[in-house]
Each structure stands twice: as structure tokens, then as C-alpha cells.
Symmetry: C2
Subunit: 461 residues, 2 copies
Amino acid sequence: MQEKFEPNALQSIFWAQSIAVVGASSSPHKLGHIILKNVLEGGFQGKIYPINPGGGKILGLDVFPNIEAIPGKCDLVIFCIPAHQVIPSMFAAAEKSASGAIIISGGFRETGNQDLETQLVETARQLHIRLVGPNCQGINFTPNRLCASWPLFTRQGALAVISQSGTIAAALAGWAEEDGLGISGVISLGNQADLCETDFLEVFGQDQQTRVIAMYIEGVKDGRRFMQVASRISKPVIVLKSGRTPGGVKAAASHTKSLAGSDQVFSGICNQLGILRVETIEELYDVARGLPVYTSPAGPRLAIITSSGGSGILAVDAAEKNGLHMAEMDDEMRTTLSQSALPKHMVIGNPLDLTGSALSSEYVEAMQIFEHSQPSDMYLLIFGDPIPGSAERLAPVIGLMKKPVAVCYLGGGNLQAEETARFQAEGIPVYATPERAVSFLAKLSQRGQRLQKPKENCYEQ
Amino acid sequence: MQEKFEPNALQSIFWAQSIAVVGASSSPHKLGHIILKNVLEGGFQGKIYPINPGGGKILGLDVFPNIEAIPGKCDLVIFCIPAHQVIPSMFAAAEKSASGAIIISGGFRETGNQDLETQLVETARQLHIRLVGPNCQGINFTPNRLCASWPLFTRQGALAVISQSGTIAAALAGWAEEDGLGISGVISLGNQADLCETDFLEVFGQDQQTRVIAMYIEGVKDGRRFMQVASRISKPVIVLKSGRTPGGVKAAASHTKSLAGSDQVFSGICNQLGILRVETIEELYDVARGLPVYTSPAGPRLAIITSSGGSGILAVDAAEKNGLHMAEMDDEMRTTLSQSALPKHMVIGNPLDLTGSALSSEYVEAMQIFEHSQPSDMYLLIFGDPIPGSAERLAPVIGLMKKPVAVCYLGGGNLQAEETARFQAEGIPVYATPERAVSFLAKLSQRGQRLQKPKENCYEQ
């Protein structure tokens, strides 16, 4: 198990060794059942106490009528009960030494009950209990095998997700699970009555398993503190912030019941802090999953090796649109290529089009020629056909490269699914289109450019 | 079987009743094997003649030593043999009354052998044989269950793909197969020595099964003829054209060995003809699969009904960025909503946020209230949670609506996969993110605006 992170106040939530689920239910569709089931099936190793006045057994566990009845202490209490019942139970939780609570329950500020939420926070402060939520989808922290959320995701990975939308968090984690990349943690922020996006940014900044942090936010609670915390984080942070248009600002205000703040100001802050901003959920995922794998390129020059001419051209269009430069190829390199064992009918240039009969070994050879003749800052390998052995041959090469080598696989039928799974099992993300791969490389390059500015080095590894 | 389309010259290719595969092979990795296997497994009902001097049997079929040995006539000959062997075989094909040939073989203009290609075309003209390719990935035409291409796709659908890249064609058809939407046809254009993008545009313009045409091109062979043909097509045509940047133009010139032409001029032509232009492969697919399902909106007003607040806000941002307008909601409608049976804690506005506990029946009720109170021009339904019964409840409603109702499903875990499959089994495409759904709606709206211009009505249904 990894060394636990600071700050201590949040340890009891993330590294809880005993958990109570208040409102545990035997009805499969109720959240009190789903959460309990996910905690169990997620493989949580500590103690689990279902709480329900009805008693009996749920999912094979003894049910306790109330928190008071729990034998011994309880680090973390998860509430799935009506809003007005939460505060009374907090006192009992404190008696059991709980220092964290996840309030799944809605019915607070978001429904106009600001007073109830204020009272909840005041109670929690008084009892030294930190709160996640209320009105949230819980948390998932795979280093502690703690899925106090839904859907159930258990695969351990390098990606942490912090989100004001439980749905967007679940979508990202779901894609990471499907792609075999996994997650370190997922936070559904809810109303952020106590703990906010910046607290969790700090947690994942220190968590050893986390190597990239993806955020969906509608605004930040305290801009100054956000900047302080973000400036100390050396890991890549990618932010999707909604409210970029007047209509979006209005909608965000309705959702979070708070002003989202100026989007331009936020962009300025991100630029200053080296935070990458993205425009869509898909881009948030695409950039997040590639960042832990690759180092930033030393410059903007891109070389493309492809078996699909058309895909290569689309990649060039996307690269130029995104500020990358196509690496030049001199006559000497053209001669080297034409004298190599690469296919005689290949189209020599950048993109280097090996054409549809390309073998996976030829990608390796082509990269070697680039590296010896005119090294590029980054590579894009497009497997635009069913090319057997591509993952087996290329994954080790990519692993050893000191430069980013993005992989795109498309048009390859059944073999594509197999090869994509093999690449991803080796931790190498595969992009489904050249444009998505290039969009990732462009962000990686943007991060690299920021790393090179000496003044900003403080927050980089 | 559908009524066959004009022009007659191409009927023998698409509606061939007898096919020879020249270069048929028993080696599973050779194209001469793959093509033969796909013709067989695609369920082709006509006669299939594998040709190989070695004779014997391949895949259970009698092999003929040469075309001359075929008993009776042969409509279509598929060549998977070295380039220099093709022309001699063409004479034999003509003897068997072939009027079409698909030249899979490379080794012509694309490798510098312009003379050989010229000679091929002259021979074909003389023999009254029309050519697909050379240097192509073949064709797939599901109305005739003719998969003379790879990968094998058999599901019948409304989407025709015409592509200068075999890979991009295969990617689009593969996604359509996976999503249960299927294809009417796929054309890999190759060198277009004879038949070009415009010929196939004309074919699919007349084909009864085809209801939308998606093209990937690097340029058009004859601008004037393209405009003539496109102006007569009433079906939606969507074009992804590469070579939008200087680097892309250069790369396209290397790939197709011809000038791509001015991108701005092409955009102008598309605007004039009502052709929708897209920027990425993903967008080409997203727009293409939605267009046959939905009518164009009468105006730009969009109403969003969601269970995920965050996804709704991102949809608003995307909508405003793409020129759609969020439908207004007056006080009377707000009152109607608040007095309805919809969840008391929903966030009233546009987006209408039913929140995470939303039921599928509530989406129907919310749409009814919109329609009665302040009808919108189009709807976006975001299922941002595992919502059971969404496809069962909503698919019939969407089917009956006279307005576009796009569906987005995300963050719904295992249930999402099931519900997405159910929607798609009913012919309703599901978008994985709100941004992709909005991007589709924006293109649908763009098409609608063009339909409303009286002068351009000539080419619309």
C-alpha cells in the first residue's frame, strides 16, 4: 500500500478503515443499496457497517439499527437518508470518532434549503467532521479499494477525476475502465458545502498513485486558494470548465447556484499556472489518459508514420490547426528511406505513408530512420489497417522512447479491437481518429512549452 | 430486392450476378483470400469464380485456372494480382461479357507507373469495362450482399460511404456496424483511373436504400461535373475534405498525385450545393448517422432535457458556439413545470435539469410540457445516469416527433451500454457526449436553413 498523503484532515476519508452506510437498503434500486454493494464489491478491506432501523442482513452483512450501535469506531460515514435526518446522525458519527462524511443525500442548497446546508456545515465544523457533498455521487479511491460511489469501477490507474458533475466523473471513469487504464480516484463534488475542488486537487497532488488530474468544474470556490494549491502541484492538471458562453454562464449559475466567474480570467489563471484547458468531455479524457504515459516534446516538430494516406493528411491538417509543425525531411533522409528495406511503393515525405501493406516491424524501422536522420520532437503512428503484431512490436519501443509517440488505430476491423486492447494493456492509450491523437499531442506540446519557461518551473516536476 | 438504379453502366458492378476473383488464394493473409472470403461470407447470392492457375478448391469453391475457363458469362471481375498482369486478363474478362472490374492491385500511378495506368484505362474503355480503382480497397454494396472489400461488414443500413481512403471508409463502416446502424454501400476510390467520386455520388443518389452519403475526399476530379451531379441529389451529402492547411494540401498532393484545389473554393461550392462540410472523421460519422433519422429543424431553438446538470451546461456552451439558440422559457411555462408531476427538486430552466433521480417517463412528460407551452425547434435528451427504460419509453416518442430529438447517453455504467444498444436497434443514434450531439444538431440545423432558401430547393426532396 502506498504511503499516505497529507493533509491529515482528509486521510480519514480516503484511507478510512471503517465505514458506515446510513440508509443501507435491501432494495436494489436504492442508493443505500447501490453504495453498500459497491463498497463491498469494490473490495474494501476494512469494516463495513450497514445502518438501517429495520436491522437484519443486507448483502450478507449484519445491519445495525443506528450509528450508536456500531461496535468500536467508524472513520467514515456515508449518508443516503433524507436531508433533514442527516444532522442528528452527525452527532452519533462524531461519538464513533468519524472524521469524514460523504453526504449523498440531496435536498440542501440545491433545492433552496440553504439554511439546512449552513446548519449541516456548522455542525460538521463543531464536530471536526469534514464533508463531501451534500447532493453528490460519492467518491472512489482505488488505492484503498474504496468505491463509495456508483457506477462500480475497480481498476487501479493513474487518473484522478474531480468533478462538479457526477455524470461526467462517471463517464470519464467508465471510459478509463473500458480502456483498461483505470483510475486512482473519482470525486463527485456535489454542493461543496465544506470540501471543494481545491481540497481534492491538493489530495491528488500528493497521492502517489495519481499521475494526472482531470477536472470538470463550473467555477472555483476560492480563486486565490485554488491558485496557491495548483501552483504547488507538479502533476499535469487538465480542466474542462463550462460556462464559456453567455448561455453557459446562465445555466451554470442555475446548476451551482453561484456565479461561475469570468471565463477569460479563469483562462488567464490556467495559462499562468500551467493548467491545460480543454473544450469537451472527450478532449478531457483524451488528454488526461495520454499525459501520464508520455513526456512533453522538446519542440513542436511532429513526424507521422502511417499506413493510411488519407488519415495522415487529416493528421497534418489537425496538426497545423493546433500549432504543431510538420518535421522537415531533407534529401539525405529521402535517400536513406528509398534505400531502406521499407516498402518500395511507400510515399516518402512527412507523413511517411508505408501504405496498406505495412508491417508492424516497418514502423519501428521508419522511426529509427527518422531518429538517425532528422529526429523529430514527437511521433504519431497511425495504424490505418488491420496490422498484426503492432502492439507487440511497438509497445516496447514506445516505452523506451524519450519522446512522445502517440498511437492511432482505425479501419482495422476485428484485429483493431485486439491490438487496441493489447496496446492499452501495456498502458499505451490508443486514439480512434488521427484528429483526436493530434489534439492530445498539441496539448502535450503546450504543456512542454510551459515547462520550458523558467519562471513557471516552481510547479513542475 | 430494391429496384435497380440508373445509370446502367454501373449496374453490372453493383448488381453483379456473377463474380470472378482473379488471384484467389488459399493463404489467409493474402488479399485474394480475404476478398473471396468476404464475398462468400457477405452472403453474395450469385455465382463466384475463384481464379488461380493452381486450380483445386479454395473455401469450398472450385478454382478455375483462368478467366477463359469460366463457364458462361461473368459480370464483374475483381483483380488481386500484380499490376502488370491485369491488362492481359481484361481481354479475357471482356470475352466473358464483364462490364465492370475492381482493381484492388496497386502498382500503377501511385508508384510512378502512369503509363501502365493510362494503358489500363484505354484497354478498359475499348472493352467497355468500367473500373473501380486501381489501388483500392474494393466496394461493399449491401443491397446485393456484395462485400468485395475488407473488413467484412454485412449489416444493411442507410449510410453510403465514398472515400479516397480505404481506411477511413472502413473506420466509418466499422462504427456503423458496431452501432447496429449498418451501411448501404462503401466505395474505396483508389486511384480513380476511371470511375471517380462523382460517379459513385450519382449511384448512391439514385440507390433506394441509401438515405445519406458521407464522403472523404482530397479533391474532386471534375469540379463542373461534381456540381452538376450534386445539384441533382436530394439526399443529404456530407463531405470531409482534407487539405485544409498548407501542410495538408502538400500531403494530399503526395497521396493522390494531383492538386487538391483551393479549399475555399470548395467550401463555396459546398455552401451553394447544400453539401455539409465537416472537420473530422468523427464528425463525419456523427452527422452522417443522424441525418437519415431526423428531419431538419424549422428554426434554431434548442431545448435540453437532462438528468445531469453539468452535461446540460456543456451542451449549452456547445450550442451557442455552434450557432443554435437556447429556447426561452416564460413564466407561464415555469409555473406549468412547477405544478407538474415532475421532480420537485428539478432545476427549472433550459436546460431543464430533472436531476439524477429522473425517470424515463419524466423525459416524455417534460417534452410534452415544452410542446404545449413553448414549442422548441429541436430537443436534446441527455441521459446522464443509469436510467432504466429510456429506450423503451423514448424511442417511440422520438419516432413520432416531427422534430429532431437527439439522444446523448453518458455516465450510465452497464445500463448505458444496454440502453444505447436498444436505442440504436430502433434506428436512433446515441451520442456519447453532449458536445457531439450538439455538433450533429447544429449541422442538421444548417441543412434546414439551406432547405428553406427557395432558390436552392431544386436539389432537395
